[in-house]
């Protein structure tokens, strides 16, 4: 089942919380440049899978390979430097800093202590930051403290931070939560544009949004992978229907 060319390879991974098996995955892989969607009912283990890939949670057993390197016990900082970026389920930006300063900290250069005393971002970085802010409609708010942003704007700021960070693998947890229809559409467009140059894993409940992404879908339920394939194929799968219906969830 394992595909050697996958840029992200999760093999035989088991995650337990106090004996509760939150994740039990024989193999999960994402191809280079692929846009993959992860769906599943609440508590299925979707966020936990992201946590394992990004080093936030250590698996009880199993292996994580990213870009041909085994990162199973790497600290999260090292995995991030390898090029794994992540948007959290609850938007997570630096409230005390302005939108622009948030972007500036996301720049890949100068992460060490010495770089910290260096001055502002270079002219080229600045242009890139402003162009990205333009795309997520935050350009006019560049000097605004992030704490003043709406929920949707914070989601976008976090995605824009990923885009400027130089990450090649993006783990995007529920980017459409709390967005208006227009905002949802723009977010889907953004993520589709990112795929190709980036490998993107998106977690989402909103089926309309998932449809827009037009990508392969993996269904997770109770820590196990139920099905993988196109959205139509997956939705037709009786086991998937049962998982959603059995828990009384939308499907």
């Amino acid at each position: 089942m394992s595909d050697r060319s996958d840029i992200v390879q999760v093999t035989d991974v088991v995650v337990e919380f106090d004996g509760f098996r939150a994740l039990d995955v024989p193999y999960f892989g994402i191809d280079r440049g692929e846009l993959r969607v992860l769906i599943g009912p609440n508590g299925a283990g979707k966020t936990t899978l992201c946590d394992v890939i990004s080093g936030k949670t250590r698996p009880k057993s199993g292996r994580i390979v990213i870009d041909d390197r085994e990162v199973t016990d790497w600290p999260e900082t090292a995995i991030a430097r390898l090029g794994v970026g992540r948007k959290f389920q609850t938007p997570s930006v630096f409230d005390g800093l302005s939108v622009y300063e948030n972007m500036e900290l996301a720049l890949p250069a100068q992460r060490g202590l010495r770089g910290a005393l260096a001055g502002r971002a270079s002219w080229r970085d600045e242009r890139r930051i402003l162009a990205l802010l333009e795309r997520v409609h935050l350009r006019a708010l560049a000097r605004t403290p992030a704490r003043m942003l709406s929920h949707g704007q914070r989601q976008w700021l976090e995605i824009a931070m990923l885009m400027v960070s130089g990450a090649r693998i993006l783990l995007v947890d529920e980017p459409a939560a709390g967005l208006t229809d227009d905002e949802t559409r723009l977010t889907a467009e953004l993520l589709r544009d990112l795929a190709g140059a980036h490998t993107v894993l998106v977690i989402e409940h909103d089926m309309e949004f998932v449809r827009r992404l037009q990508s392969r879908v993996t269904v997770l339920n109770a820590g196990k992978i139920l099905a993988e394939g196109s959205l139509e194929a997956v939705q037709a799968d009786p086991r998937v229907r049962e998982a959603y219906l059995g828990r009384g969830k939308h499907g």
Partner: protein, 374 residues
């Protein structure tokens, strides 16, 4: 860059506008405060409006305000509550005190008097080996910086690397303070036990009882305070400062962006410790004594109160809070000494409840309101 018109004094006076005056004052207040401290206070002393005890007291408060600046860097900016800043202060004070004691009256076989009088066996007493190098002012000066700095480096690095945070970090810093306090209270450490170091007479050849020396020490303390405030403000305006705020707001986010917050937190902690050590070294010749009482647990907690009342994360707030509360203390303990703990407690609670930004935060809100109504 040309200044906005309402920041030029001549223009403000011409406009006779209350809002413009407020803005001018707000903009220039730090510089005015610095001038008042460094030149104004000695001037008032020369005119006889302040006496020697006022001057000595203000000099000591300048040193305490430096400790508050350090705490503001770690707590106000990086969000790391430290309850051991006065421990670093006292270590710096002891390093300076040992130098001063070595150049004060010596008893027996060249033993500083403070050490000689607490000795259980003064007859055949030898000077402990670790005292000797402190006779050298350069060694003592290096110790003032390096002892607190290295302690903070090791302690901070171990704690931050183990991801000890928030209240847990506060508790272990408190525990370290108590442990060191107990250690310094012991006579067999040969640092004069609870009596502390005293009997100082000369500093770098200057007579400590001379008025000129006292004025000089005051000016050095005030100038060092101003310089520290300026340097830390500059530091917080760099990328390092923004990273400290990011640590405070969302340390996990920072790690997933590929940063290692341990380095930043440790750096801030070390800087704060060094500032506290220097402050302690300037404090000691002005009080003429340094004892373990300077590092009891409560002393470090008081620094937190100064910063909270003055306003976290502003640097100027730390200075304002430290000076204001200590001046209030000096005034009230002569008037109503019993009531002071209650007054301080009430002040702290009032600020936390009604002005979370402290005095500086409240002042800024007031200035903004003035600008809006103008």
């Amino acid at each position: 860059m040309p200044r906005p018109r309402d920041l030029v004094l001549a223009e403000v006076l011409r406009q006779r506008s209350w809002a413009a005056g407020l803005r001018w004052f707000d903009y220039h207040a730090p510089a005015l405060g610095a001038l008042l401290l460094v030149f104004g206070v000695p001037g008032l002393f020369a005119l006889g409006l302040l006496d020697q005890s006022d001057l000595a007291r203000l000099g000591r408060y300048c040193c305490l305000a430096m400790v508050a600046i350090g705490l503001d860097l770690v707590w106000g900016y990086a969000g790391v509550l430290s309850l051991c800043q006065m421990m670093f202060f006292t270590l710096g004070g002891y390093a300076c005190g040992m130098y001063l004691a070595m150049h004060g009256p010596l008893d027996g076989d060249g033993i500083p008097r403070a050490l000689f009088v607490v000795s259980s066996d003064p007859e055949g007493m030898q000077l402990p080996w670790f005292w000797k190098p402190f006779a050298d002012p350069w060694f003592a000066a290096a110790a003032v910086v390096l002892i607190p700095g290295l302690l903070a480096l090791v302690f901070g690095w171990l704690a931050f690397r183990s991801r000890i945070r928030g209240v847990y970090f506060a508790i272990i810093t408190q525990a370290a303070t108590v442990a060191l306090w107990l250690l310094f209270c012991r006579n067999d450490l040969q640092l004069c036990g609870t009596n502390g170091l005293t009997n100082f007479t000369r500093l770098l050849g200057f007579d400590l009882t001379a008025t000129a020396t006292k004025v000089g020490l005051y000016i050095v303390s005030a100038a060092t305070l101003v310089l520290t405030a300026w340097a830390v403000l500059r530091l917080t305006a760099t990328r390092f400062g923004r990273l400290l705020l990011a640590v405070r707001d969302n340390e996990a986010r920072l790690r997933f962006l590929g940063y290692d917050p341990v380095a930043y937190k440790t750096a801030a902690f070390v800087i704060a410790a060094v500032i506290a050590g220097i402050a302690g070294a300037l404090y000691t010749p002005q009080t003429g004594i340094i004892t373990p009482a300077n590092m009891t647990a409560i002393e470090s907690i008081l620094v937190v109160v100064w910063v909270a009342v003055g306003g976290r994360g502003t640097v100027t707030g730390a200075v304002v809070g430290a000076l204001a509360i200590n001046l209030l203390y000096a005034w009230l303990t002569t008037e109503v000494p019993r009531l002071w703990p209650f007054i301080l407690g009430a002040l702290f609670i009032l600020v936390v409840l009604f002005a979370p930004g402290g005095l500086v935060g409240a002042w800024r809100a007031f200035v903004r309101r003035g600008e809006r109504t103008a």
